[in-house]
Symmetry: D2
Subunit: 370 residues, 4 copies
């Protein structure tokens, strides 16, 4: 396989991110098929044409089904709003395409289950956009955990916080509507959960508390409208390996911009990480001499694969978009039949199940198994 035909549905935040990845993956990795950017779909034909020209796609359409039916398209990027994921991903799979779908999988658990079922039946490769697990830092942390660098993990803490919902006087919009989901739980929770799955094999049971920082928000008509989703979620949890943990999510956390903070405590050391400084992590190992023990701030370097594919010098830093390039490369490896680090629909479903268990736990005020 020297080239692969690509279709892209959606050109917003993640759509552009996919487009950049499709353009960069071959020059960065120097291996694998060359993506041929065949078809791009957007709601309006004008926007579709403009984005196709910008992103380098050969043709465009305002009818995504046309793209899915295009025989030259072999893999489809689905980056539309969450409510469309299921329909589009399933159609693409059924048309015999591989699918690269943004997270979360779907709005309802039923849709996610259907997606996983169709994927299984199709024999095609599926990948969800859990790009944080692609960070060379996170991959290296997994290697450290596997080799026992901090011994047996017994406790973890995850936080994910941003502030795009922090202003109480910002206009009510769809993220505060119940139809969009639970709130921070599905909006954010899936990311830490993808890390827990990647690093520890996932969670076993959960106990959640959801909270609303603001009861209502101004509406367009000049009045105020009651908020229906929870911007804050606090969760006690137990990992599959038995370790206890805490997960705290807040999309109304003033000053936090892209915080995904992780603390992992083991019998021989501790690891800490924060996505806002995604090119470094902290390692404490109990084996250092007592008078010089301390958390080491370790900067990513060529020794942390696949950083070296981007930059041959240490400490120069990757960006958020470059994680998507790594994800794209993993997807291509999977399509080529190689072992790859992706979250397929099957594993993605587990993440969705954990989210829904948390919501149930909140409703019933008790621990729920995943």
């Amino acid at each position: 396989m020297t080239s692969i035909g690509v279709g892209l549905i959606g050109t917003g935040y993640m759509g552009k991110c996919h487009a950049l990845a499709w353009n960069a993956v071959k020059p960065v990795f120097g291996e694998g098929p060359r993506p041929r950017l065949v078809h791009l779909a957007e709601v309006s034909p004008e926007l579709a044409a403009r984005r196709a020209e910008e992103f380098g796609f050969e043709r465009s359409t305002s009818d995504w089904r046309e793209l899915v039916a295009d025989p030259e398209v072999e893999v489809v990027s689905v980056t539309t709003p969450n409510a469309f994921h299921a329909e589009m991903a399933i159609a693409a799979l059924e048309a015999g395409k591989h699918v690269w779908c943004e997270k979360p999988m779907a709005v309802t658990l039923g849709d996610a289950e259907r997606m996983a079922a169709v994927a299984r039946a199709s024999g095609k490769v599926t990948a969800l956009g859990y790009n944080y697990i692609q960070n060379p830092v996170i991959r290296h942390i997994r290697r450290l955990l596997e080799e026992g660098a901090i011994g047996e993990v017994n406790h973890v803490r995850f936080e994910m916080d941003e502030d795009f919902m922090a202003d109480p006087e910002a206009l009510f919009y769809w993220k505060s509507e119940a139809s969009s989901g639970f709130g921070a739980l599905d909006d954010f929770g899936v990311h830490p959960l993808s890390l827990m799955q990647f690093l520890f094999g996932g969670v076993r049971r959960v106990m959640a508390q959801l909270a609303m920082p603001y009861a209502d928000r101004p509406s367009r008509d000049g009045g105020r409208r009651k908020v229906e989703t929870y911007d804050i979620a606090s969760v006690l949890l137990e990992l599959r390996n038995g370790a206890s943990g805490v997960m705290a999510l807040d999309r109304s956390a003033w000053g936090r911009k892209g915080r995904i903070a992780m603390q992992v405590f083991g019998s021989k050391g501790t690891i800490a990480y924060d996505q806002e400084r995604m090119n470094e992590f902290q390692l404490f190992t109990a084996s250092d001499r007592a008078s010089e023990q301390g958390f080491r701030t370790i900067l990513t370097a060529p020794v942390h694969a696949p950083y070296e594919r981007f930059i041959p010098a240490p400490g120069h830093g990757l960006g958020f978009n470059e994680l998507k390039i790594i994800e794209c490369h993993e997807l291509l490896k999977a399509i080529g039949g190689e072992a790859a680090q992706i979250v397929g629909f099957e594993q993605g479903l587990e993440i969705e199940r954990a989210v829904h268990a948390m919501a149930q736990s909140h409703r019933e005020q008790k621990w729920v198994g995943v």
Copy 2:
């Protein structure tokens, strides 16, 4: 009142800390009575005599009841192991002394209740050693909260971690025995709870999960002994003001030495603090211009009372021991009839009640009101 007679029971970690405070409080603050160091009690008469000489006490005894009976003693520092607090504090109160007792109040809730009752009846001043609330940083944070600098608080996170129990091969000792309490919960939890009381008026209901990182530890006889206490505690909580929160405690957290980390999220900003860097805190306010918003690292300075009593220049730093000097000064103010920031036995009892509610919550696997 130009001087006040002081008795000190116990000369370990906290005993020395009290002694240093009694020696320093007058020169630092320049006001209030001069402490007269009258009587010191320790288990052995030799050690008692030696410590009296070192700390500057006039006389010493191996019988603490003698100290309590000493008519020249007006205030008693109780710094013995937790199990003795109730008996000594009550005896001192009944002998008409003011009492400065280290935290936690007592091992059982019943003892704590008796202490509070006797204190109430005595009319004497009581103070518990919750020194972290005396930090000029914490006091200033309270002022900021009161003036609405970050708006209405809607979510908080507290962590307290050290690593003195982190080595799984360290010998079993009394801290792993059930008779010592629940583990991290009472050992550590009282500190964050004292901050929550000081800053937010305390907690309303809790949901806790206790965990053991290690099932057993080596015992002196060469075998292994089952651990009976929980080094880790994770708690969901609701503050009295309705805000949601998380508290995570771990005394087996490798690399953490004196971490008491706090994040306070409000409708207009965020405050963050970590006791390991006790001379600074972080403030984010949404009112800064968008392109220059960020967390400010604010160093303590004379403008943050009572820092200026120690050092007239900003950013030079106070130490842990100096918090106890401030606490001592507050105690003296209270004895002198002035308004003071101390945690008396009455308020201390509320903290104990929260701890016991958490333990109950863990046992019953459900939310418990405080």
Copy 3:
């Protein structure tokens, strides 16, 4: 102009970085001509062909003159070792191509002068690879300086440190030969100098001290060879605006990986920055209330152009390679006749002159004007 023909000479560290930029610039910015990757030159024909396939170039050659003569090539990226810059850049300019040349311009001041002269005569656009000035953080700092956010700048400090020469037992190689230049001075000094030019208009006079951490290094023949270059440079300087400054460079600085640290002191505030955390900077403004003054850690965000072309969410982070994409976009703007932020050969020559003035200052042990 809807497309532009690109030639690339060299495919090492910077060659790949240029290739990635040429692939990404159109999808990222969505505007300007689409680069057409026409011709790639490398030393061996096999490597040239392989890299052309990886990077997406239409044809390749082992004779760079062939590339320069290619009529479909309109702009040439020169990313070969420094010694070749002058010859290649001049040939390309004389063939009527625009030139994008990596820094430093040349090994000798004479070569740099010739390059500038030819560039001037050619009327073509030239750009040197001073990518750090393209960081949205640095651009925003310039805006802040221009609007007087920290008042009048009166003192600056620059540091640039890495550790690739830090191991005293690493084999002697060409970077320790006098023929390679002065050492840290030209290897590193040009970067801080590009920032000083961009932010403050450059330097007026300098006083330098060069130093060798290791007198000799092991050579391949098993003996030791005397080191001829200076891994360390310390410089006092005066900016064109009269402010005093310090620049310290060290390529043997263990633990520093990509540090370019900058402190800028003004009459109303201070700005600090470190390239190892390239997505944030520190701002202190004296106008904040006394009790809440502190350095703000400001994360890059869409409000800091052109970050928003990459990511619509704040705090997610750009990478080192993405600075080159911005540089590429600026180059295309300049070619298109628009105002652009690039360091042309003319301005690059000033940077070279400052470097040579420093070397002279060291030799003569006195202040030297630039």
Copy 4:
């Protein structure tokens, strides 16, 4: 010797700091003579009496010569403005007292030389207030350097910055008068120099540039007055061991409150420290595995003597004032005939010589030997 009679001249910033140290040294260290606070001198008799009461001195005077003549005084703390140091210290030495004098020694080099000569002749113990060398962190760094933890030191950088002169519209006062000295050079430079002496044996030659951020300042009469001292100093230097270095000082550096930053580069690692976070330091050692190399943030702990005399738990933090208690203990050790870490007048004179060499270097615009 079970007690020692103490006299204190001056009760400002440093006078109070000495008083606190005299009160605390015995309880903290538990060894050595008990200081007997005999005599206190201040300009006005009322203030002298008040401070004596506050600080616990037996008697007070407004005539410091009376204190010096007091036969019960054995050691004199001199904490008056710099201009008085020489006269008072010499008088005290000639009266047979030990002398603990604040830094800098004197305003003129001649005075410093006389002080050193009289000290030598007297046979009494002298100590200057270079308290930063007493920090357990700094002491531990010396031990690390001695045991070769970072190999051979080849480059150092020191910075000392505060912002008390940063406001250009603050009224002209004596610190801007030439009679007060050179400015930042003597005000600040002596501190980094004391660290260089303690850690590396001092400096060999220097090249300085002094600068004024503001040419004039408002005067009390409503006009403006020309500034005569230099708030900024930048210095190239060579340590006695041959290593190159940079020292940068700025007392107009907005946002810096007590910054004394130090970077020490060696053939096997790097150490970094900043007094604003005086309870931690950074260590990088090249011997760590490549993929986990990084700067360790090491918190002070009982293993870093004499931290354990203050607190038995790690990471709890000492304060600035406690460095003076350690200094006081060292002084008492010296008086008792033990080896001690103090800067006597003899070594203090070397620091003064370095300062004056820097001033000369600035005047003559050339390197000057110390």
